[in-house]
Amino acid sequence: MTEMNENPLDLLPEVLLAASAVLGLLLGSWLPRARQWIVGLLAALACVAGIVAAAVAAAEPALTAFGEAFAVDPVTSTSRIVVLGGTLLVLGVSFRALRADPRETEFYVLVQLAALGALMMAGAQDLLLLAAGYLLASIPAYTLAGFRKDGPGTEAALKYYVIGALLGVLMLTGITVLYATGRGTAYPMLAEAFRDAPKALIATGTIGLLAGVLFKAGGVPAHFWVPDAVQGSSPPVAALLTTIPKIGALAALFRLGEVVFADSTLPWPALVAVLAAASMTLGNLGAFFQQDVKRLLAYSTISQVGYLLMPVAVAGRADLAQQALLYYLAAYAVTNLGAFAVVCALPRAHSLDDYRGLAKERPLLAASLVICLLGLVGTPPTSVFLGKLEAFSAAFDGGYAWLAVLAAVNTVASLFYYLRWIVPAVSRSGPSQPAVGDQAARFVAYAATVVSLGLGLAGGPVLDALAGPINR
């Protein structure tokens, strides 16, 4: 066995975030209520420092830390940057809404812990660490969902928690079965053992494992919590729930597919392809006639998980899969957060009709909304278009042309419900909303829109950076 690497500096972004969360909690206990925003600032600084550290680490060759439990490779580095960047945007949209809230500090700390959980899931190379990451990502999120302590929030938190607890237990059961099958929990060891392990055992264990990871990703069949939790919680929390944990979960799924199951006896590609197809289709069907904007976006995120699962399905079979997934994750995160930032910027607008006349009142905000929603459809030149192009190409290349065709059909269908939102927003008639709004959230929306467009136009260098080899 090689010498064990226990250098905590390899986990610098994670360490920074954890330290900032703990420090923030302590600091919050001593700060007067009017100055608790300092904790938020600290969190933002930790995110920025973490992004820098992750970017530096990304330039180094890939390595594993703490035995073989945690991998630092392009998948981890990209997830780190996307998760931390996403967290920064979430902090931005919640800054004004939570100003001088009695529990302002707690909010920032919980956001950081949830993000930390997503980071651990993305880098985990050991099933037990994955389970720990799952719990770390889940428990703060349950609390955040019910943070407002109102009726819908309580319902959201309860539903989220009950489903999360159930699927978490299933996941632990699955991990136990896989441990029994592979006599280990480290991915490389499992990959070795699964080459000729009994199919039924692997399948049982994998289904349990997938239940938990798909819960975090919000994909079919573990998607039932998404609409209620997103609609019930406050807009900034909804933005967090639909973005940050997904990144960790999809990175974890990709790693599982690429490292553990690529050569196993389990038909992993077919299994994930079916899940992808179900997710994109059912998410779209659910979104069709929604009136509440958060609920509409919630269903849209379910369908987006379907598209994101396409490269996961062909992990290890198509050269493009890794680039496609990582690029799409980044594009999705920033575009989805942009759309949610618009929702946060207009706290009084709940239904699609409330957006009527937005273009007249706030033309820039309306433009951001249109660009983000068309971006989610996959209209060029936004970044999601390039992500979809790569994902489609990867699916074709991996022998799943039917999945790409289905995704194309679903994309057309999705246009319908996004347009149901765009049309009132750009129409000139209708009662004009009193232009109360959250300025900080507005700027986040503009920033996310610009990044979403810029990432699409300057996709070349980004894609190159994502192509490095994954740890095995």
Binding site: Q323, L374, T379, P380, P381, F385, L386, L389, E390, F392, S393, F396, D397, A404, V405, A408, V409, T411, V412, L415, F416, L419, V423, V426, R428, G459, G460, L463, D464, A467
Partner: protein, 504 residues
Amino acid sequence: MTHLLTALVFAPTAVALLLFALPRRTTPTVFRTVWVAASAAELALVIAMWIGYEADGGMQYEERARWIPSAGVGYHVGVDGLSLPLLALTCLLFLACALYSLRENRRIREFAALFLFLETTCLGLFAALDLILFFVFFDLSIVAMYFVIAGWGHRQAARAALKFFLYTFIGSLALLLGFIGLYLAASPHTFDMVELTEQNPLAGRSVYGALVLLAVVVGLAVKTPTVPFHTWLPPAHVEAPAAGSAILAGVLLKMGTYGFVRIAMPMLPEVWRRYALVLVVIGVLSVLHGALVALAQTDFKRMVAYTSVNHMGYIVLAVGAAAATADSSEQARSLAVTGAVTQMVSHGLLTGALFLLAGVLYERGRTYDMAAYSGVAAVAPLFAAMTGIAAFASLGLPGFSGFIAEFQIFTGSLGPRPLATALSVLGILLTAGLFLRALRQVFTGPLRLPDTPGTPRAFPDIRAHESLAIVPLLALAVVLGVAPRFLLDVIEPASRSVLELLAR
């Protein structure tokens, strides 16, 4: 100047952004003036490019830049005999629309900005030499046109715009799947059109090739549109504002047919030849269906819209017939392709003019219903004369551009596909009938004007800005009908090279 083409493509969008930089309280006149000036400058630029173009020089004004190399995507644009006429047509029609809209008052800044952006997407599409670049402009043109129809259209505009968006978006995704198929078949993987044309990556792979061709043809056929994918067209045209209809019919429809000669024929020659008969059949069906349904219309604008289906059918017939190698001379087939490109230009000019004239009619009478009008020639002789010229040119009377185009198409297609060509000639007869009927209804007889409440009673003759927009289109149609050589000299070498590529 090496970046001439890029400047041509992106200048309108730059001007559009400039319009938004102007303060909100700027008078509408400024916006209109900037719009007209920018469109005129674009036309001047494209004329300069035409003058500098060498007819036998192949691809010219070519520019390449790295964009997304790891995805096989590059910025690659260029001009040849297929694209130059369409670029010029685009610039001319956009100038006509800018002039026509000199009286437009509803949110003129947004209207002008959208049209300028739309001009970029159209020019970019015809100049693109990379499939993804082509696709980007293809999709953006749909988005921009959606907002034109939904924002400035008539009563049912929202529904028509949605239908337009969904249909053409389905087409664009089919196209994207086809492009990915081409990309993965090429080695090294690339989206570059020139390289794909050289490689002919699907040679000898009949099933794969057929599926890719199916995806590409469906995508382009929705846009063209041909039967049975044409159902989005009539509502979109009827509900769109006049300038929007003119661009939609004059330029956007050409994107489909341009795709056939630029992408499908040179990149998939083997399968194209095998399935060309299907296209011939679709072409004939479009010709006859379009003409017959147009004959049944009472709404002037809807009638013109259906004649577009008919006219685009001739183009599909020509590109299908060109593939039939059976005992026809090289020259005859070359005639068919040249005729197809000429028809694109001719149809753009004439339908553009007809839709603008329909807009004039609506602006006076607030209805397109032909039965509501009678004897209009007495009060508006110039308007009547222009509509008459446009209608006669559109039905293919000698002396106009439509005749040159259709004559070449029929001569070129008659050898390889005699039956289909004979059936298509019936289309001309039908169009002649329907145009004459419409002219008789609206312009002759005792004077009668629609008198629904709120409509102005007077029917003023064509105004200066309207004739400034329409007369050049008709004049050019006459010039092309009398002295078409300057256009044909540009198209013919390019169409010969398409046929060489097709014969591989």
